[in-house]
């Protein structure tokens, strides 16, 4: 990563100008400004909407605004509205009533595995993603990637057309181009054909590939997922001799030990697991039982922050800890060698706790841990006889489980050897994401014809002959399996915006029916599934001859689409037995303990941009990452102690300060002979002597938002140490790099903002959180309070449940048309999120307890903002909402100054994008798009309240409890946020507010917040409790 990556790369600019066809020489700077480099240089740090001066539109608007604002006289009051045109339908679709949104069920795939979603569609525009309550992997919640996917759908940077070496071509031209080559390959049984995909669980795609391989037996199919570990598969092989898919039942577990597993926020089952896990921590209606979570991990994670006991260890040491623990639990035939690094006391206590909960405990290993640790985890679960109770096994959900790295190595070898004539890359971006030691790009250049299907014209596309724009999942027909095997049919919400093709259609192009649409392909596949019972078939053949639709198939099809999943397709449980000889192998694999002080490097997918596929998604880029709270960048995370040892630090800058710009030391990370420059971030709770770097940054060709942000960890990532490895050397360069950090100050300064207690403490004093204000809404006052006859909306947030997954933040952004502002503005402390997750640390800095606190507008009864607004732009509604009227706001910002919670956000510049056409489709028509100079804030999703109220009033009934779900509440996998009418004593929120843990933030200010919090409680093991 170049530190001052603002510099315009003139060399490449010249190169481009030289190479550009058609335009022989450039005549004006205007033209020069059209070049990619220049655009990138402009948009690297500012999303388009901010750089006023740089694009012609901006300049035009400059003059427009100039005129508008210099004619200040306020005459705009007496100007008539421009005439507006209405275009009615010619033939109006039956189900569509203008002004009413429709919801469709589909599924989103991430790293091959799917989760069901419901998509809100306004007049044919998908605008918002909700979870599908009936889908096992969603249960009504979604992760932040699903929330942000609508932005990717409308991303103006998506590849617009089929291109051949940069020139626009037609789909049929592509078909023509490959035909002859296919003829030749068919003769050779496809010896020269390689198909590279990500993980595939789609039955249809699986069968298509199987079919293709049947026609070309010597062709090869490679699956590579840069962000999903192979440990689970290999571990299962090691333990059982057969790959299985492990499913954990946290709803049945009292004690959970996580070996480097972030099961609450990572992985295809995280939503389900979070729901189950948190259900066992709920302390409502006098419940005083909680599960207990032990976490051993290197990099601080959301799961780690929920742990009752957390032990930071270097990844390699986790292996030895697992062995030591397994010994305690009586796992047979383990080498009694090698003293464990973990305190014996700790291990003994955990072992005892697990022993005491045989059959109701879980040992779960992280995806990025070694097969050996996975095998040990399996063994421990067997030893604790959890299998069949809290841990069950099924067949793998992948169509064809394979060792990703191994197959990738073989592909590279074949390419090197020049044996590959046709390489088809579907979805993946290996040039960016493949391990550095494979030199994928170099060896790929030896392939005769390279075809790439992807959403964006990215690093890989650049090096391919053909690039086919991929259809977004909201534009596609397909199917996908969930973590438990449940199959969902993926249906499109909108016709492909950029004529994208699906993987099905691309594969069809290599068969004798190249023009089949994915609709036909998927439908035909499912027709053939009748015989084998719905969804069972792996080997079935995609219907080559399409039968006439039988009515019961139609019935099945409609139901599957309507429900969002195919009933009873969850893979059946299967029983497996531990191999007896595996331990010896594992001992062979096990390496001795690391000498302390030797640095280890840890690779992890980024919590927001994942493996880089979301790099151009502004919502995810600007989302403060859990625990580091960084935006727009990745960094090298080190523990405070290690940072001190290496003399690394960072400090706040004057601009923005604690909640803005941080200047971080830049280090050179050298790993196995490769180097990369990275800014340092000190992460309390990080394991000593190791450094975590996140993947997904340093993209060279992501788009206007993602290109150039952060550094690419892939440049030092090697195939033999995909997730961690030792032998890292760190050298301080002396440079400083500005990071945009949304919250730098995690010390609560002894203020009583976030009371917490242990389970025993809670039993002794349930009201520990309330202090002198048992009911925040009844603080003493000289004035009579407001009277509420009908509704009084309020919210309760259970801090004991919140896992800090950030899904609510993106949901809010998507629901309320919240703009992104870009790194530059975040560094000034001007990000716009209405809902933020405050994070405070307690305890010692090396391994602090982490507490999350989602903070949104508290909708105070005595709102300080209301009395200071000179124009009544923010007022108290008859239902106790603190309403914000954008069109009345003149922007004095007094309300924000007077808000003790600082939840108000101001449009310091024109943040909302009014130019980009495709982004206009994204906006939620129920919420105003704010202009510059206007204050905004959380409204409790007033548009949803109005909607529910109008429906209720039309039916002459009151709004039912649970009828209004705020956007944040709807997506929360932990159900930590509850909203409703506090006037109704039977409403869930009213009940929660009666809980003893209920307290009001800063209640002593007598603001009477409508949003209250339920204090967090931990359940430490008495044996380990620090005194």
């Amino acid at each position: 990563m170049s530190i001052n990556h603002n510099r315009l790369d003139l060399a490449s600019l010249r190169a481009r100008l030289g190479s550009s066809r058609g335009k022989e020489y450039w005549r004006s700077l205007e033209e020069l400004a059209d070049t990619q480099e220049f655009q990138e240089f402009l948009h690297r740090e500012f999303p388009k909407q901010i750089c006023e001066w740089n694009d012609p539109v901006g300049r035009r608007r400059f003059l427009k605004l100039m005129g508008a604002s210099l004619a200040l006289a306020g005459l705009n009051a007496c100007s008539r509205a421009p005439a507006e045109a209405i275009f009615p339908y010619v033939r109006q679709p039956e189900e569509l009533a203008l002004g009413k949104p429709l919801f469709f069920a589909t599924a989103m795939e991430l790293s091959g595995v799917g989760a069901g979603v419901l998509v809100e569609s306004h007049e044919g525009r998908p605008t918002k993603i909700e979870g599908n309550p009936d889908h096992p992997a969603s249960l009504g919640a979604t992760d932040l990637f699903a929330q942000a996917s609508v932005l990717t759908l409308y991303d103006p940077d998506r590849a617009p057309a089929v291109t051949n070496i940069g020139d626009i071509r037609s789909w049929s031209a592509f078909l023509g181009a490959i035909r002859s080559l296919l003829q030749a390959q068919r003769a050779l049984k496809g010896a020269g054909v390689r198909i590279l995909t990500g993980a595939v669980t789609s039955p249809t795609l699986g069968s298509q590939l199987a079919e293709l391989l049947k026609q070309m037996p010597s062709a090869r199919w490679i699956q590579y997922e840069p962000a999903s570990g192979d440990g689970a598969r290999a571990g299962a092989l090691l333990a059982f001799g057969t790959p299985v898919n492990t499913i954990y039942h946290f709803d049945k577990a009292d004690v959970v030990l996580s070996l480097d597993s972030d099961f609450l926020t990572c992985g295809p089952a995280s939503l389900h697991y979070t729901r189950d896990f948190i259900a066992r921590r709920r302390l409502e209606e006098g419940k005083t039982e909680m599960n207990r979570l032990y976490v051993v991990e290197s990099t601080p994670s959301n799961t780690g922050s929920k742990a009752d006991h957390r032990l930071p260890l270097r990844p390699r040491e986790i292996g030895s800890l697992a062995r030591a623990l397994a010994r305690h639990l009586g796992v047979p035939a383990l080498s009694a060698a090698e003293g464990s690094v973990a305190p014996e006391k700790w291990i003994a206590a955990v072992a005892r706790d697990l022993q005491q909960h045989r059959g109701s405990s879980i040992v779960i290993a992280g995806d990025y841990q070694t097969p050996e640790v996975h095998a040990l985890a399996h063994a421990m679960n067997h030893a604790l006889s959890n299998v069949g109770k809290t841990v069950t096994y099924t067949d793998p959900v992948e169509a064809e489980p394979a060792d990703p790295v191994e197959s990738l190595r073989r592909l590279v070898k074949d390419m090197e050897a020049g044996q590959v004539d046709l390489l088809v890359i579907i979805g993946a971006n290996p040039v960016y994401s493949a391990p550095a030691d494979l030199n994928f790009a170099a060896s790929m250049s030896k392939v005769g014809l390279r075809v790439h299907l992807s959403l964006y014209y990215d690093e890989t596309s650049e090096l391919c002959h053909w690039h086919i724009p991929q259809a977004h999942f909201l534009e596609s027909w397909s199917d996908v399996r969930a973590y438990d095997g449940t199959i969902s049919i993926v249906q499109p919400l909108i016709a492909p915006l950029y004529h994208g093709k699906t993987a099905h259609e691309l594969l069809a192009a290599f068969t004798d029916q190249p023009e089949r649409t994915s609709y036909e392909i998927v439908r035909d596949y499912w027709k053939t599934q009748k015989a084998g019972g719905w969804g069972a078939g792996q080997t079935a053949v995609a219907g080559t001859q399409s039968k006439p639709d039988s009515p019961e198939f139609d019935k099945f099809w409609r139901k599957a689409l309507h429900d969002g999943f195919v009933p009873n397709t969850a893979s059946p449980q299967r029983s497996v037995s531990l191999r007896t000889d595996w331990t010896s192998e594992s001992v062979k694999r096990s390496s001795g303990p690391l000498p302390s002080g030797e640095l280890e490097i840890v690779f992890r997918p980024d919590p927001t941009v994942y493996d880089g596929r979301f790099a151009n998604n502004g919502w995810l880029q600007e989302l403060p990452k859990p625990l580091t709270k960084l935006t727009w960048d990745n960094a090298a995370l080190v523990s405070p102690a290690t940072a001190q040892r290496l003399g690394l630090s960072h400090e706040i800058a004057w601009r923005g300060g604690e909640h803005g710009q941080v200047l971080a030391d830049v280090v050179e990370l050298q790993f196995q002979g490769r180097k990369v420059l990275a800014p340092v971030w000190i992460a309390p709770g990080h394991a000593d002597d190791c450094i975590t770097v996140h993947l997904g940054y340093g993209r060279k060709r992501a788009g206007r938002v993602g290109t150039g942000a952060g550094f690419s960890a892939n440049t030092i990532r090697t195939s033999d140490s995909l997730w961690f490895g030792s032998g890292l050397s760190v050298t301080k360069t002396g440079g400083r790099y500005p990071l945009a950090c949304a919250q730098y100050h995690h010390n609560i300064e002894g203020r009583n903002l976030l009371p917490s207690n242990t389970l025993n403490g809670y039993k002794k004093d349930p009201k520990f959180a309330q202090q002198e204000f048992p009911d925040p809404l009844k603080t003493p006052s000289l004035y009579p309070g407001f009277q509420y006859k009908d509704y009084a909306w309020g919210m309760a947030i259970d801090l004991n449940s919140c896992v800090g997954c950030n899904a609510c933040v993106i949901a809010c952004q998507s629901e309320n048309n919240i703009p992104i502002v870009g790194k530059e503005q975040v560094m000034r402390g001007r990000e716009m999120h209405w809902l933020r997750i405050d994070q405070y640390h307690k305890g010692e800095i090396d391994n602090p307890e982490v507490y999350y606190q989602p903070v949104l507008c508290q909708h105070c009864e005595h709102a300080p903002c209301e009395i200071v607004c000179p124009v009544q732009a923010t007022t108290h509604s008859a239902e106790g909402l603190n309403t914000m009227v954008y069109n009345r706001c003149v922007g004095t910002r007094y309300c924000s100054n007077n808000c003790p919670y600082k939840v108000r956000r101001f449009n310091f510049l024109q943040f909302a994008d009014w130019e980009t056409a495709s982004l206009k489709l994204l906006t939620n028509p129920e919420v105003s798009v704010r202009s510059r100079g206007v204050m905004e804030k959380c409204t409790y999703c007033v548009q949803r309240i109005s909607h529910a109220k109008i429906n209720a009033e039309r039916e002459n009934r009151p709004v039912r409890d649970g009828e209004v779900l705020t956007a944040c509440q709807a997506v929360c996998p932990a159900q930590a946020i509850v909203f409703g009418n506090i006037n109704d004593p039977d409403s869930r929120v009213a009940k929660l507010k009666k809980e003893p843990r209920n307290y009001g933030l800063l209640a002593e200010l007598n603001t009477r917040p409508r949003t209250t919090y339920l204090a967090a409680v931990r359940n430490p093991n008495p044996e380990l409790e620090k005194t």
């Binding site: 009051a77 007496c78 100007s79 008539r80 509205a81 005439a83 507006e84 045109a85 209405i86 275009f87 009615p88 339908y89 010619v90 033939r91 109006q92 009533a97 203008l98 002004g99 009413k100 006859k789 009908d790 007022t875 509604s877 008859a878 239902e879 909402l881 309403t883 009227v885 954008y886 069109n887 009345r888 129920e926 919420v927 105003s928 409204t939 007033v942 548009q943 309240i945 109005s946 109008i950 009033e953 039309r954 002459n956």
Partner: protein, 219 residues
Amino acid sequence: MSQIFHRSTNTLSKLSIFGALFVLASLAWLIAGLNRSSYITQVWVAREQPVQFSHKHHAGDDGIDCRYCHTSVEDSSFAGIPPTKTCMNCHSQIFADSAYLEPVRESWRTGKPLQWTRVHNLPDFVYFNHSIHVNKGVGCATCHGRVDRMPLTWQTASLQMEWCLECHRHPERYLRRRDQIFNMAWEPPPNQIEEGWRLAGEYKILDPAHLTSCDTCHR
């Protein structure tokens, strides 16, 4: 040395004092008037349309119910603009070859939508919902006037906030029985006020405090 000013200037200067006040006052009055004038609000201004569609003819003479064309008025925020198909339901038979209706037939042939000019145009930051008004006893004519007497449609209400508030502050003045909603000719009964209160109770209409809360119309 000669006088600089003529005697008359004394009177002038005295006048100017009051003159200034007068000018300022009338200017303010002018602006206030202009803002409410039909030049700004476009009230009473008939809009040109691609097809000389006459509500007078359809709603008035033929007595077609509003909901025949404005289908979603009872259950959606948007009353609905009839698709070309609705026109063709009748006009494939009646006036099937009238020159007036050529644009309609063309739209039907080509599938290109007709482009009407909006008559009632609220600002984007106002969230008006037809269904709730129609369901709570606000008649079409209350806001749209005697559409059944409009050969070309025009606005009869300023649609300015003060106009909205008038009704949201005193709903009882305007409420009518549900069966009268679509009756263009409805006249308020002499006992409208108490009748209005009665209906407000019957329809469970929230009190003005709710109706005038900002978030009722602005989000």
